[in-house]
């Protein structure tokens, strides 16, 4: 009897999910009929950061909010909105945090200058070797 009870408990066990009971939004996991639109949406979704699984893009994330954001992106692309307009609409709300695309703001300058600095250091090292 006890074994049966344990077996029943195991079989009926549910993970404790902090997820809703609603199905994913219509365009969350569905491609747009026009391949060009879908390509634009995909490129944008790869560069938008998920608010729940921070560090993943909304294209990668399984979070429901990411699904809802994919739905939003695909709907707006299908309605003819430019990806850059959708990105700035989201940046207005969440800040540059939401976008993976590096901006030209001062905080990002080291990112742009690092390759140049490394090249210069490399050139200097090579010059020293050659001179020797």
């Amino acid at each position: 009897m006890k074994r049966v009870a344990i077996l029943v408990a195991f079989l009926s066990a549910q993970p404790l999910l902090a997820d809703s009971n609603l199905p994913p939004a219509y365009w969350a996991d569905r491609q747009l009929p026009d391949p060009r639109d879908e390509a634009k949406a995909q490129a944008l979704m790869d560069e938008l950061r998920c608010l729940v699984c921070q560090g993943q893009s909304i294209a990668d994330s399984d979070a429901e909010l990411a699904g809802d954001m994919r739905d939003l992106v695909r709907r707006r692309i299908a309605a003819g909105e430019k990806p850059s307009a959708i990105r700035s609409w989201l940046i207005q709300r969440y800040g540059t945090w939401i976008s993976y695309k590096p901006t030209a703001e001062p905080a990002a300058w080291p990112l742009w200058l690092a390759p140049l600095a490394l090249l210069l250091i490399g050139a200097w090292l090579i010059r020293r070797r050659i001179k020797r």
Partner: protein
């Protein structure tokens, strides 16, 4: 090789270890605050989340400062928060809700078992209004002043200890 150069890698290692310990001791804040704080609430017109309650439009958030609470019946911290919201309501705070990805019967059951502090509740089945508010999860609350300007965003549940803070923010929004 000079002595200083020989010990450079060790010094570098110590710097890296110190940086790691510092980051472990003071973890980064992973909350993403809404940039709409201090700006007008975006226009929305939501349907009713359940039959017994009026629906919510952005135009309704005017007149006097109101608390807009983003919640869901499937959200565990919301169960505790809704009791604090009832305390706020008892002290005269006007509270409206937006139910995220919810079903009418679930919202009704949630309110029946945990209490109901809301005047109006809008239904946001695909988090569209939540995203337009710059909100990144449930629960979250916004203090909206009488002109429809967002004055304060509270990320996470309003705990009993947050009641004075919320009341002060509502007073400031007057």
């Amino acid at each position: 090789m000079s002595r200083a150069v020989r010990f450079a890698p060790l010094a570098l290692l110590l710097v890296v270890i110190a940086a790691l310990i510092w980051r472990l001791a003071t973890p980064t804040d992973s909350n993403v605050p809404s940039k709409l704080d201090g700006r007008p609430i975006p226009a929305f017109d939501l349907g009713a989340a359940l039959e017994a309650k009026p629906a919510l439009r952005s135009r309704d958030l005017t007149g006097r400062p109101r608390l807009l609470n983003i919640f869901a019946s499937w959200c565990v911290p919301c169960v505790g928060e809704v009791k604090v919201l009832q305390q706020l309501r008892a002290r005269g705070v006007a509270i409206d809700g937006i139910a995220i990805r919810d079903r009418p019967e679930d919202v009704a059951a949630f309110l029946a078992s945990n209490g109901d502090p809301y005047e109006k509740i809008g239904d946001d089945p695909q988090s569209a209004v939540q995203i337009s508010l710059g909100s990144s999860g449930v629960p979250e609350s916004f203090v909206v002043d009488g002109k429809g300007i967002i004055r304060y965003q509270h990320i996470g549940p309003i705990e009993p200890a947050d009641v004075p803070l919320i009341l002060a923010k509502l007073e400031q929004a007057r």
